[in-house]
């Protein structure tokens, strides 16, 4: 049990306080990003509302929250995939110090996607074209960034990479997706996504359709890719907090388009200071003997609709310890006990009535 692992200083980090920390080793910087959808009736829905974070070389940031919290919208925004009805409102996204916000989709596809930031999609099993062989789909990835590549070099490259991620390259590359088992398909998708050694990999619930044993194999593969320095840092999106405990080094809990708690994994999982992240933890189940007495409590209701501005705390409607003034006063992110929290009562004992860790 390695609960109290202290925050280790970065090896690459320069000794002493750097004058401009943003320049030093942040791979992805998101600065007060706001992103909205426009419905077919012309309503504006602010799906991501003021998110700020930065991702360092070698860091894995977990983003947790239930469905409809804006997790997937946030990463679309981070990747510059502003495809209508999704639009950029304000704020900046920088990858390797270069802003990607003003780019056209075509430019973005050519220069950023796949090379600097790549995505492992949700439901990866269904994201392969059933009528094409794996090698053709993988070759597309290389050809779209380097049109001059010839067939032989592509083949060698694919074979080398697929062998490296533990697949029987000759068999897998010449197969159609239906011929492969779920775990292998998932490996192929990861292999294709990371073909161009992207700086940041966005894993959007990569394991939600898999059983526990395959899930473990997939996470192991992602770790291997990081250890071999094929990918350098990762955004890991999930609604399973216990999984993040093992995967990520820091966690951001998202609710209604905003971060409500952002700190290290130990802080958020074991001593959360925000009612929503505590309730999220309290709704989880585990298979330890003796856990049967601990009753998991589901969070009732659904996240609020974001077409109109919400005056007070966004979680107040569902919060079990909501105070009378929660619905009227706007909550801001502030630092409590070493992490960022969006709750007025984060430093009081009221919070401890909710949920509780496993």
């Amino acid at each position: 049990m390695t609960v109290s692992a202290p925050a280790r200083p970065l090896e690459q980090a320069a000794p002493g306080p750097a004058p401009k920390p943003a320049k030093s080793n942040a791979v992805l910087e998101v600065d007060d990003l706001r992103v909205h959808y426009v419905t077919r009736f012309g309503h504006k829905i602010q799906a991501v509302d003021g998110v700020t974070f930065s991702l360092k070389q070698g860091e894995i940031l977990g983003i947790a929250g239930e469905s409809g919290c804006g997790k997937t919208t946030l990463v679309s925004g981070c990747m510059g995939l502003y495809i209508p009805p999704l639009f950029h409102t304000s704020g900046d996204v920088r990858i390797d110090g270069k802003s990607i916000v003003g780019m056209t989709l075509e430019q973005n596809r050519k220069e950023v996607l796949g090379q600097k930031i790549a995505m492992i999609p949700q439901g990866a099993l269904n994201s392969l074209n059933p009528t094409r062989k794996i090698k053709d789909m993988a070759a597309d990835m290389i050809l779209s960034h380097d049109e001059s590549a010839d067939k032989k070099s592509i083949n060698d490259r694919l074979r080398e990479r697929f062998t490296r991620i533990g697949l029987d390259a000759d068999h897998v590359l010449n197969s159609y997706p239906v011929e492969l088992p779920a775990g292998t398909k998932q490996r192929c998708v990861i292999g294709i996504s990371t073909l161009l050694n992207p700086k940041v990999v966005v894993a959007d619930e990569p394991t939600s359709a898999l059983d526990v044993s395959t899930q473990k194999a997939v996470i192991k593969l992602l770790f291997e890719l990081m250890d071999q320095e094929i990918i350098s840092s990762m955004l890991f999106i999930t609604h399973e907090l216990p999984l993040l405990r093992h995967v990520s080094s820091s966690i951001a809990v998202m609710y209604a388009g905003q971060f409500v708690e952002y700190g290290t994994t130990e802080q958020v999982i074991f001593e959360g200071r925000q009612p929503y992240s505590r309730a999220l933890m309290g709704s989880m189940l585990s298979a330890e003997p003796g856990q049967k007495s601990r009753k998991p409590v589901a969070i009732e209701g659904a996240p609020p609709k974001l077409d109109k501005p919400i005056p007070g705390c966004r979680f107040a409607e569902r919060c079990p310890v909501a105070q009378p003034d929660c619905k009227t006063t706007e909550q801001v992110l502030r630092v409590v006990a070493g992490r960022q929290v969006r709750c007025k009562y984060a430093d009081t004992e009221v919070i401890e009535q909710v949920g509780g860790g496993l």
Partner: protein
């Protein structure tokens, strides 16, 4: 003796294909399901748990062996509705269980067609309302709504509302929580427990997550490659697993209190 047994399987097997390409999905399995108990079938994908559940539902027939329901063998011929009045199912993907083109309420009302004698229209409305309230949804919330307008968790509760209407003796729940948000999972399990307590239902819970199975069930069956490799009360199975498969399944759960995957490189933390 046999009165308390709902299902009784004697050496049942299910083989798909024949000759060289034959695949044995369920391999010579023997088990009993008692009245008013929740049993869980746990195993990895492709271990045969869904095929076994389908055989209980009369959607598949065993190629060999004998399967008894309430002491009588399940026959492959005859009106299947006689069987489905007593054995019902909840599936993994609630959206594929409902027709996209009809309102949810009309589809819940249509489930009364399964009964031999249909109640009066007034009674149907009333019983649909009751069923919706049983799964904690106000009837007004879903009035005139279509399946795509609700979330996955809500739709899964609609499937459970159907069960509250039909009141079968046995419910086969095939991975009812895998499409549901992690934080609504607990509520789905609560409704299953409620079905057992209020309607004294027998529940067969099929899952790959041994943690869920441990929480809900009275007895556990661990399956691997078509065979039942471990069985017994949940506490016994979890504390003293006898087979390697069970040990592996327990180890693969990302539990917060122990190490899951050993890594050489230390994690990098965001400096505050």
């Amino acid at each position: 003796m046999t009165e308390t047994l709902k299902f009784q399987a004697k050496n049942i097997s299910r083989v798909f294909g024949h000759g060289k390409k034959a695949v044995t999905a369920v391999d010579n399995v023997t088990f009993e399901i008692k009245d008013r108990e929740i049993i869980s079938l746990v195993g990895q994908s492709g271990c045969g748990k869904t095929v076994l559940a389908k055989m209980l539902l009369r959607l598949e027939t065993p190629t060999s062996g004998e399967l008894l329901f309430n002491g009588k063998p399940i026959t492959a011929t005859g009106d299947p509705r006689n069987h489905w009045r007593q054995v019902q199912a909840v599936f993994q993907d609630p959206f594929s269980c409902f027709n996209q083109f009809f309102t949810i309420r009309s589809q819940l009302k249509a489930s009364f067609r399964l009964f031999e004698t249909k109640p009066s229209p007034g009674e149907i409305e009333e019983r649909v309302d009751q069923a919706l309230l049983a799964v904690n949804i106000k009837p007004k919330e879903v009035e005139g709504k279509y399946p795509f307008e609700l979330s996955g968790g809500q739709m899964q509760r609609m499937l459970l509302a159907r069960i509250f209407i039909l009141k079968p003796q046995v419910l086969i729940a095939d991975e009812p929580t895998s499409m549901v948000d992690a934080c609504s999972r607990a509520s789905i399990l609560d409704y299953l427990l409620k079905l057992k307590e209020e309607l004294s239902m027998t529940i067969v819970f099929v899952t790959h997550d041994i943690g869920l199975a441990y929480y809900i069930s009275d007895s556990l069956y661990i399956m691997h490659k078509g065979k039942i490799v471990d069985r017994g009360a949940p506490d016994d199975v979890i504390k003293h697993p006898t087979s390697d498969v069970t040990k592996q399944l327990l180890e693969d759960i990302p539990d917060v209190h122990r190490q899951w995957i050993a890594r050489d490189t230390p994690p990098v933390h965001a400096a505050e």
